[in-house]
Structures are given as structure tokens and as C-alpha cells.
């Protein structure tokens, strides 16, 4: 904390708990007011945003996710704004803005507004709101090759000075984004969020006093640090490494992009070294250094204090991150960033993979690790105007844990709390028909505990539109742990004039034109399995078959479970089969499929 009085920490524990929950309530209400006043579906349905409350230094006090991957970017954006103006240069009634990709660490769609909270002419906190705008200009639907092709860039400037909006700035932004009515509505919703945070935080200060609130914040961070240190100590000391790959960078199809991580654990400190993650790439899969650091922090939080305390900067004091510039997760201007969110998820999973041998009961097998979020645009037949919509995120399978099956059809780790796009909303607002949205049988990795299942969505065009997908991890599939099987990857199919094209070279298509009655299909991957599938409780396998998660063929061939005509486990036959055979892969077996 910046203020000396906060260092006193002399607040009683009951008050600290009341204030802890008060701070959460502040960010929760910021979230509520943002979604209630927003204009685009990505914000009010999919919840693609993050709001937060920060100290006068810019350290995270409480954050309403949103996107877990933004835990670092938002705080660093507040810090960059403080550095730009100096605390003296920020006045009551100011609201600062930027969407600079190399500051936020993400794409230009993330307009980020920050408001100082003044108490007796002194800044005691900042509120901040990032939200995803539907469009910020730039190339529509194509792969981009530098930041300039991705839309308007707003450096750190004042949106509002002494209570007066900088209308000239707003006019410049409005002229440079498509669907500016929606963008300006979302802008107002973000202002609502930061002013809500300011008002509610000041109410806390008025009620409990500045010293009690700031002292509590210091204590809350110290508590988070203490738990993080204790839990880090319980991980065996050592150096752990792992490697995984991305399919391609959107240009060089088939050229895999390596993700290598090195974790060093000593006592109650951990170092995550991301130096060996691939260099920045030509296609738009780069992200900024704040996202690179966030990869390490998200993984660290999951491994040490996943459910102990909500995120604040105390949680990360015993984590050191080595993140040189120029990597795919620490890209430099002008490398393109539009699909910033994809690679970091695999970086996080790779940290889990590295630590799996040390703490098998606290890690998780690989997940589908992609938003599986197609973008479409076209002319709306009823309105005669351009529409742009992202349909998703689809949700997919998550990896199995040692003692628990992976969750199915759940949004990937980058997007934490975000939701899918409800079919009813899509059909009411856009010229699409959702033909199918279902769970994919046999998409999970087999194991003693199995991975979660992926989803499949088929969307028909009711009038022509252009489809763009930027999906990865089709070939580099979610991995299993300790003998668990890998899951299916993410994939895309296109139906034109009644004919399906499904063996595309990767899961990326750019501005494919679909006519009336044509359709696309998105398939999300499953999660990897954990442990030998032949050790899975046969009753659970029978249940999976009944639920349509696992086919009878895989139940027999991979899990070695023989089912009766009625779907019950044939205990004797199963035992015999499992004794006679070691682990086998589905493809190696000629199946005798039992009807029923």
C-alpha cells in the first residue's frame, strides 16, 4: 500500500471480514450494472469483460471476472496510466481510457476505462472496467498481420477531464468502429461500471473509515500471501519441465508452435520460466507480456490457492515469473494480437503438465483449450444493415483429475465466467438456425477418471453470411496423465449445397461465404483422461454408455467393460476381459458391438 496509515494493519478480524465481503460486493455490483446497461450480447450474455478495484499503486484488491487471463493485464493497465500521468496528474472527475494491445496484453477490442477514487483530495483507489467491443475497425474476418490491420488504437488518454467528456475523442472513436451505436452504448455501460465502483467503495470508506478499509486491504493481501506460501511449501522441491504444441500460426499450416515451460520450486517460493515459449508469430495469435505473466499467475493460483481466497495481488508475492520480451505471449509492436486468448490457455495447461508428477492429486489433464468461437458477418435481411456476431464460446471438455471426471461442455480457462450464446437469443436476433447443439459422444480421453466431453453445434445460414474461425488444437489434442488417453481435438466442418466438407487441414477458415441453407459445424474437443482406463469402475462405464457419453464399442475396446443386452455390467465377462488384456487403444480393436 502506498499510504503509511495502511501499514498499521490494526483492524480487528471481524471488521476485516466485513470489509473483505464489502470489497467483493463493490466489484460484483460493477459487474451487474455493466451487464444491465450494456448493448452487445458478448457483454450481457457471454460476459466477456472484467471489472476491478485497485490500490492507489494499481495493485489488484478485488476483481470481478470475466476473464481469468486478465488478472494481470488490468492491474498493469492501471499502473501504466498512473505512470503516464503521475498521481498528481490525475484529478477528481477524470476517467482514463486506452485499448493499447501492448499495455492490456490483449486485443484492441478491450477498451479499458479507469477512474480514480478520491477521498479528501487524495487518491485512495482506482476502479477499472475492460469490456469486449464487437468491432474496433480493421480487417473484417481475415487473418491480420500487424496491429495496424486490427483497428483503431487509443493510447492512454483522458476520456473525461474534471467531469467533462472529451467529445472530440469520442467522435474519433465512433468514426473508426463498425456498429458504433452499439460501441457507444457499451462505452456508456463501462462508465456506469467504474462510477458504480467509485460510489460503493466510497460508501465503505465513509462507513468504516479510510484507515480501517485500507488497513483491511493490506491484511487481506497478507492473508492471501500466507496461504499461497503454505500451500507452495507442500509441493516437493524440484525443477519440473513440460512441452506441448499449437497446430499453427494461421499462415504456415502444419508447422507446429512449441510451448515449453520450466518450473522451479524451492521452499515457499516458485519460479515459472517461460523463456522457451515460442517466439512471436506472424499470425494474430500473439499476446502482450502482461498476458504472459498472467499465464503463470493463473496456473499458480489454481495450484496453490484455487478456492482459498478470491484474486488479489497478495496471492502472487511468492511467485517469480521469467518472461523475456518477443515471445508469443510477450509480443512487441507491431505483432498482431487479435486472437490473443488462444495460446495462453495451452501455456497454463503445460504448467499443470509439468507439475503433474510432483502433485498428481492437485493437477488436471489437458483441456480443449480454445474458445471455439466462430465469427460471422453479413447483411441482416430484416434490418438491411451489417451485423457481426460471435457465436460461442461453445464450451468443451476439461481434463480429468485424479479423483474426479473432467467437466463437460464448459468454457475454456481463458474465459472463466463467460457463458455461451443461447440458441434462442441467436435465432431471435440474427439470420441463423441452430440445427444442433449437443454433447459429442466419445470425445473425452479415457481413464480411471475420464475427461469431460466436448460439444457439437451446427448452425444454418437463413441468409448469406461470411464465416471466420480461428480455432487451434485440432491436431495437438488434449493430453491425458498417468496412462489416461488423449481426447479428440477441436474441429470445423462446412456444408455447402448439402455437401459436408469436414477434412479441412486445420480448424481455421477465413471469410468463407455461406449461402441460404448452408451451414457450419463446430466441434469442441474433450478433456484428457487420468490413469489406466482398465481400472475405471465398470458401473461408471455402464452409466457413461447409458448417458450417451461413451459408445458400447469404446466401453468394450478401451475400458474392457462387457455390457449385457440391458446395458448392465456383465461382471464375469468384464473381469475376464480386463485380466486378459493390457491397455489398448480404440483403433487397435475390432469391435463386437453388443446391440441394445
Amino acid at each position: 500500500m502506498s499510504t503509511p496509515d495502511a501499514k498499521a494493519h490494526a483492524v480487528d478480524p471481524v471488521t476485516v471480514e466485513v470489509i473483505r465481503n464489502g470489497l467483493l460486493a463493490v466489484t460484483e455490483e460493477m459487474k451487474t450494472n455493466l451487464t444491465r446497461t450494456a448493448y452487445n450480447l458478448i457483454i450481457y450474455e457471454a460476459l466477456d469483460f472484467t471489472v476491478g478495484l485497485f490500490t492507489a499503486n494499481g495493485d489488484t484488491v478485488s476483481i470481478g471476472l470475466g476473464l481469468p487471463m486478465f488478472i494481470r493485464g488490468m492491474s498493469e493497465t492501471v499502473k501504466a496510466k498512473i505512470k503516464h500521468y503521475g498521481l498528481d496528474g490525475i484529478k477528481p472527475g477524470d476517467i482514463l481510457v486506452t485499448n493499447d494491445a501492448y499495455t492490456t496484453g490483449s486485443h484492441l477490442n478491450h477498451f479499458t476505462f479507469t477512474m480514480p477514487v478520491f477521498h479528501k483530495r487524495e487518491i485512495i483507489a482506482f476502479t477499472c472496467c475492460m469490456a469486449h467491443w464487437l468491432d474496433v475497425g480493421g480487417t473484417l474476418g481475415q487473418v491480420t498481420t500487424d496491429i495496424y490491420s486490427e483497428g483503431i488504437q487509443i493510447p492512454i488518454v483522458k476520456y473525461q477531464r474534471d467531469g467533462v467528456v472529451n467529445q472530440e475523442l469520442v467522435d474519433i472513436i465512433a468514426m473508426n468502429v463498425r456498429l458504433h451505436e452499439k460501441a457507444m452504448g457499451d462505452l456508456r455501460a463501462q462508465i456506469t461500471a467504474v462510477t458504480t465502483g467509485e460510489r460503493r467503495f466510497l460508501e465503505l470508506v465513509e462507513r468504516y473509515g479510510k484507515d480501517a478499509v485500507l488497513g483491511s486491504i493490506a491484511q487481506i493481501m497478507d492473508q492471501s500471501e500466507a496461504v499461497a506460501r503454505a500451500n507452495t511449501r507442500s509441493i516437493p522441491d524440484g525443477i519440473y519441465e513440460a512441452e506441448s504444441f499449437m497446430d499453427d500460426d494461421g499462415f504456415e499450416i502444419g508447422k507446429k508452435v512449441p510451448i515449453r515451460v520450466r518450473v522451479e520450486k524451492r521452499g515457499d517460493e516458485m519460479t515459472i520460466d517461460l523463456s522457451e515459449v515460442s517466439r512471436q508469430v506472424r499470425g494474430f495469435y500473439n499476446s502482450g507480456v502482461t498476458t504472459g505473466i498472467a499465464c503463470a499467475q493463473v496456473a499458480f493460483k489454481c495450484l496453490t490457492t484455487a478456492t482459498d481466497y478470491p484474486v488479489n495481488d497478495g496471492s502472487f508475492r511468492n511467485l517469480k515469473v521469467i518472461m523475456p520480451m518477443g515471445r508469443v505471449i510477450s509480443a512487441e509492436r507491431p505483432y498482431p494480437m487479435r486472437v490473443w486468448m488462444t495460446y495462453p490457455m495451452t501455456v497454463i495447461d503445460t504448467v499443470f503438465k509439468a507439475l503433474a508428477p510432483a502433485i498428481p492429486d492437485r493437477t488436471i489433464a489437458g483441456h480443449h483449450a480454445d474458445l471455439v468461437f466462430p465469427n460471422i458477418h453479413g447483411i441482416h435481411p430484416a434490418e438491411g444493415k451489417l451485423f457481426i456476431v460471435g457465436i460461442g464460446p461453445l464450451g468443451g471438455g476439461w481434463g480429468a483429475k485424479k479423483n474426479e471426471d473432467g467437466v463437460s461442455v464448459t468454457v475454456c480457462i481463458n474465459d472463466g465466467d463467460t457463458h455461451n450464446s443461447p440458441s434462442e437469443q441467436l435465432e431471435a436476433k440474427y439470420p441463423v438456425l441452430v440445427e444442433r447443439y449437443s454433447i459429442r459422444e466419445d470425445s473425452s480421453g479415457a481413464g480411471r477418471t475420464r475427461g469431460g466431453l466436448g460439444a457439437e453445434m451446427v448452425v444454418q445460414a437463413l441468409s448469406p453470411f461470411s464465416l471466420t474461425t480461428r480455432i487451434d488444437r485440432m491436431h495437438c489434442k488434449p493430453w491425458g496423465l498417468e496412462g489416461g488417453g488423449e481426447a479428440t481435438g477441436n474441429s470445423v466442418g462446412i456444408r455447402r449445397s448439402g455437401k459436408w466438407e469436414i477434412d479441412l487441414p486445420n480448424a481455421k477458415v477465413f471469410n468463407v461465404r455461406l449461402g441460404r441453407g448452408d451451414a457450419y459445424m463446430m466441434q469442441s474437443g474433450g478433456g484428457g483422461g487420468f490413469g489406466d482406463p482398465l481400472e475405471r469402475d465398470p458401473e461408471l462405464v455402464a452409466e457413461d454408455v447409458r448417458e450417451g457419453y461413451v459408445s458400447p464399442a469404446i466401453a468394450l475396446g478401451v475400458y474392457g467393460v462387457v455390457l449385457t443386452m440391458g446395458g448392465e455390467v456383465d461382471v464375469v465377462a468384464t473381469q475376464a476381459r480386463r485380466m486378459g488384456k493390457g491397455p489398448v487403444r480404440a483403433e487397435d480393436e475390432a469391435f463386437e458391438v453388443i446391440p441394445g
Binding site: N33, T35, Y39, G185, R188, I191, T195, G566
Partner: protein, 149 residues
């Protein structure tokens, strides 16, 4: 009401005289005020939508009649049994299961599970081992006897 383009609406209380005087500006001004109270901001220059209109009316209504069903025996009447079909129950496998029409059941009827009770918008499952009785108001009271919790 909401601003054109927004998804969520706020409820705005409008006095009858706004309508009597056909004062559209007053309606819009009231919405701007309510938006500012609810969220802390408003956009008076933006146009607004009326999403739905609700009216509050005060008056005295007749008491609704009490719903009762006819007194019957322990055995449900024949016409209540629609069919019998195979239903899968975990731990039991497929079992022949009677399907009853709920509107035809009578007070005092007693059914041992497994059974299905069908009605217009719902189906009640009586598991094997459970016992269901119909009370005087037509409620289905199920005594759980099965091992399914």
C-alpha cells in the same frame, strides 16, 4: 423501458396523467431519472424503448373455488390406467410399469411403485419400493421406500 440497443430494461412507474396528457417527454424524463437512480448514469440524448406495459388495478374478486377430487377406493379406477410399459430403473433394469392419468385418479387411491403418473405438463415417477397415495385435494403423496435417495 430501456435505451434503444440495450438488452435489459428497468421498471418505470408512470402516473396515469402522463398518458391522459399524452406527455411523451415526461415518460422519457422519468425513465432517465430511474436509470440514473438504478445505475448511477443516464443518457438523456439517447432514444428509449417501451418494452412492456403493466397496469395495476385494484378491485374485489370472488374467492377462487377449492379444488377437490372425488372420493375413491384404494384401487385406482380402471379408466385411470392408460397403459403398462417397460421402464428402466437403475439397480432394477427394465420393469413393467403402469402409467396412470392423473386427472382420473381419486382421493384415497394408492399405487405401489414402479409407476408413472402423467398429466398435461408433467410426469411423476414413482420408483420401485415407493408408495403413492392421492389426498382429498388431488395431491400425490409419495412415501419413499426405495434405496434411491
Amino acid at each position: 423501458m430501456r435505451y434503444v440497443g440495450q438488452e435489459h430494461a428497468v421498471t418505470v412507474e408512470l402516473p396515469g396523467r402522463f398518458f391522459a396528457e399524452k406527455d411523451r417527454d415526461a415518460i422519457k424524463r422519468r425513465f432517465d431519472e430511474v436509470h440514473a437512480i438504478r445505475y448511477g448514469t443516464s443518457a438523456p440524448k439517447e432514444p428509449a424503448d417501451l418494452v412492456s406495459l403493466r397496469t395495476t388495478v385494484l378491485g374485489r374478486m370472488r374467492k377462487p373455488p377449492r379444488h377437490t377430487v372425488h372420493e375413491g377406493k384404494s384401487e385406482p379406477p380402471k379408466e385411470a390406467l392408460r397403459t403398462t410399459k417397460e421402464v428402466f430403473f437403475r439397480g432394477h433394469g427394465f420393469m413393467p410399469t403402469p402409467v396412470f392419468k392423473r386427472p382420473a385418479l381419486q382421493s384415497g387411491n394408492c399405487v405401489n411403485g414402479p409407476a408413472l403418473i402423467e398429466e398435461h405438463a408433467s410426469t411423476t415417477v414413482v420408483h420401485p419400493g415407493d408408495v403413492m397415495t392421492v389426498d382429498g385435494f388431488g395431491n400425490l403423496q409419495i412415501q419413499i421406500g426405495s434405496d434411491r435417495k
